[in-house]
């Protein structure tokens, strides 16, 4: 794509373009992050901190809540991200068809969830997931269940409810990125393929997907990070407890509790934050690797 070698003037221009962002990031991100890295080697409560070496990492391995949070976060990640990305892609491709009627209405409707304020959203979902809420009534009406599910009284169903809620909220958001990206694809390629008799699924698989790859990669990375930082839903649906029985506690909720709810244990919560960084690092690397791998095969 871009030139392999840049001359000196281009080098300077390159730095100039990214300089404002780098300066701000240095101030407001790198510095606090370095501070938090340093904190992760501190042990103690409140203001009484002392250097503890790797004590916090040892503590992590023995902490049942951390291990549950890690497990839950992975469960959410493995089930939720693919469902959401798949649906978003499907909606975007369907809505990109210029012959489709009511496109504006569909587009707005599907985007609405992520605009709906968190308060309205959590109030509504809590009432829909209530024991005599609309979900149970609907499921009983179609005889899928015999008695109402206590969604947030059961560790398994609580997870299902969280997955449903996040998918509802963020599918339209991801769809926006795909819609914007689809506009960048030259329509004439599609028309040519269509006239040549290439079936729709093949056009999707061999034209759309490869051309959307940078944005798919982008949304996957963002969703991975979003899931690993999952907080709003579990905090609001379970009154901040991550219950029942820690079945919905996530790493972010645990960090919040360690920082604000429990006896302030800042060093330890910084350590849990760094676990997220390491995990995202590994996952992002794998996602880039998968994306690159496919490119070579083509």
């Amino acid at each position: 794509m871009a030139q392999a070698r840049l001359d000196r003037r281009e080098q300077i221009t390159g730095w100039a373009f990214i300089a404002p962002a780098l300066i701000l990031l240095g101030l407001f991100m790198i510095y606090p992050i370095v501070w938090s890295l340093w904190m992760s080697f501190q042990v103690g409560k409140g203001m009484n901190l002392s250097f503890g070496g790797f004590a916090n990492i040892v503590r992590l391995t023995k902490d049942p809540v951390f291990l549950r949070a890690l497990g839950n976060t992975f469960t959410f990640f493995i089930f939720q991200v693919p469902i959401m990305i798949g649906l978003a892609l499907l909606f975007a491709v369907a809505l990109n068809d210029s012959t489709l009627r009511f496109r504006g209405i569909f587009r707005t409707a599907i985007f609405l969830p992520c605009v709906t304020s968190l308060i309205a959203y959590s109030t509504v979902f809590k009432s829909m997931f209530a024991t005599d809420g609309i979900f149970n009534q609907a499921l009983m009406a179609v005889h899928l269940i015999a008695s109402p599910i206590s969604w947030f009284g059961d560790p398994f169903w609580a997870k299902v409810a969280i997955i449903i809620a996040i998918t509802w909220r963020w599918t339209g958001y991801n769809m926006i990125f795909y819609l914007a990206a689809l506009q960048n694809i030259d329509r004439s390629i599609y028309e040519a393929a269509r006239i040549d008799g290439v079936p729709a699924w093949a056009r999707f698989r061999y034209l759309t997907i490869p051309m959307l790859k940078p944005v798919i990669l982008f949304t996957t990375v963002i969703s991975t990070i979003g899931t690993l930082q999952l907080f709003d839903e579990v905090y609001n649906f379970t009154a901040g407890t991550g219950g029942p029985s820690d079945s919905t506690v996530t790493l972010s909720l645990y960090i919040y509790n360690l920082t604000f709810k429990f006896m302030p244990s800042f060093g330890y919560s910084a350590t849990v934050s760094w676990v997220i960084v390491v995990l995202v690092g590994i996952l992002t690397f794998l996602q880039f690797l998968v994306a690159r791998d496919r490119k070579i095969k083509q």
Partner: protein, 424 residues
């Protein structure tokens, strides 16, 4: 670590000072700022107190900020105290009793001791105990969380019981009554949220224990009242007397809509219950049932909060004087907030006022406030310690197993292990 921050911070400060496009709001003298979390409850009570103080001292005003939730206030307070920065903190802040020790012990010197200037013996003993550290008490006790068993008198009557049948009973007896009520009326006895351990804590406190020993060490294994409380909790579920709920709206919805027959809860729920004027006369309040073990009484506490003066305040003397003058002295003020906000204060002398002696038609013409203030004086003091939130979390993790009839000793062991881990 502090040195690194301050040096870098100062350089940053100099660099940033020039781009400041809105300056910090100035605090004028004679102004006492207060953080509260409910405009209609503690906010309204504090405003009333403020106007009374201004009437006495015209140059003093009390500015009440009710634009944050309780969780918000905790997060702000904890961030600022951790950062060692007191910029913009108020003069007085409201803190719930069961988390007070965490702040007092984590941030020594951040709060002003009040027991030197205010006579604490005028307040309910258990409230003062919650804010006492090393012989000094740091709070001006505000609302009491004295508990009662609110119940639908119509359902109870329909099932063949009288008010006397609910008077000073045990929880086990309540389970028997609840079974009959469910048979006869079809209503569940009560609604419970597995993410909330309030009922279990209430049961523990009525037997004078908490999660900790006096020295702050864990008291889980061998804590007989706790074990009995968990056993009782499981009984409700096993007798199928519970409507499971999740979250505040569903919790209050179950009794305001008339679905469940009783609500064992702190007195601060009164306003929520009375908000449904069409149910007037259908409700009554009985003493909270006791645990069926030695030493348990028919009185307990749930929630409740108190006022703390921040040591960083420029206005300390005036803030203390304000609390002393109105909150520790004005009996008439307590009548007013009882009537208007349903706030039951902790000043013992307040019960001698008019409003406390009045009867309430909503509760069948009973003298409910006299009852509550009687129970208030019977609440056993317990040490809430600094790790209540951690143990709560450990306990909630076991609740789903416990209600299915899981082994209680194993559950207590698991709670103990997790809490031990979290307390290091």
């Amino acid at each position: 670590m502090n040195r690194i921050i301050s040096r870098r911070g100062r350089m940053f400060g100099i660099a940033m000072a020039s781009v400041s496009f809105l300056s910090v709001a100035a605090v004028s003298a004679g102004e006492i700022s207060v953080w509260v979390w409910d405009a209609n409850f503690n906010g309204a009570a504090m405003r009333e107190a403020g106007s009374r103080y201004t009437a006495l001292k015209p140059d003093a005003t009390v500015v009440v900020d009710d634009t944050a939730s309780q969780d918000d206030i905790r997060a702000k307070l904890q961030t600022q105290l951790l950062a060692g920065s007191t910029d913009g903190l108020p003069d007085i802040v409201l803190i719930q009793d069961d988390v007070a020790q965490k702040y007092l012990q984590s941030f020594p010197g951040a709060f002003e001791p009040l027991s030197d200037s205010i006579d604490m013996s005028a307040f309910a003993e258990y409230k003062v105990a919650a804010a006492t550290l090393d012989g000094k008490s740091y709070s001006l006790p505000f609302d009491s969380g004295v508990t009662g068993l609110f119940y639908r008198s119509d359902y109870i009557k329909e099932a063949g019981f009288t008010a006397e049948d609910l008077n000073n009973i045990t929880w086990d007896r309540l389970v028997e009554i609840g079974t009959v009520v469910k048979e006869k009326t079809g209503h569940q006895l009560l609604d419970l949220d597995l993410n909330d351990s309030g009922l279990i804590r209430m049961m523990m406190q009525q037997a004078g224990t908490w999660y900790f020993n006096e020295d702050g060490s864990l008291n889980i294994i061998g804590n007989a009242p706790l074990k009995k409380a968990l056993e009782t909790y499981a009984k409700f579920y096993q007798a199928d007397l519970v409507k499971p709920v999740s979250g505040w709206a569903e919790y209050t919805g179950a009794f305001t809509s008339g679905e469940v027959a009783t609500v064992p809860v702190g007195v601060w729920i009164t306003a929520t219950i009375k908000a449904n004027a069409d149910q007037s006369g259908l409700w009554a309040v009985a003493p909270i049932p006791r645990l069926d073990i030695e030493g348990s009484v028919n009185a307990s506490n749930q929630g409740g909060s108190s006022w703390y003066v921040l040591a960083s305040s420029d206005n300390k003397a005036e803030a203390v004087d304000f609390l002393k003058t109105v909150w520790a002295g004005d009996i008439d003020f307590y009548q007013k907030i009882l009537v208007n906000q349903g706030a039951v204060g902790s000043l013992l002398a307040a019960r001698e006022g008019e409003a406390y002696k009045a009867t309430d038609e909503f509760f069948g013409g009973a003298p409910v406030w006299q009852d509550f203030s009687t129970w208030l004086s019977q609440i056993p003091s317990v040490g809430y310690g600094v790790f209540t939130a951690e143990v709560d979390a450990a306990l909630q993790a076991q609740l789903p197993t416990i209600i299915q009839g899981g082994d209680l000793d194993a559950a207590l062991q698991a709670i103990n292990d997790q809490a031990t881990q979290q307390m290091q």
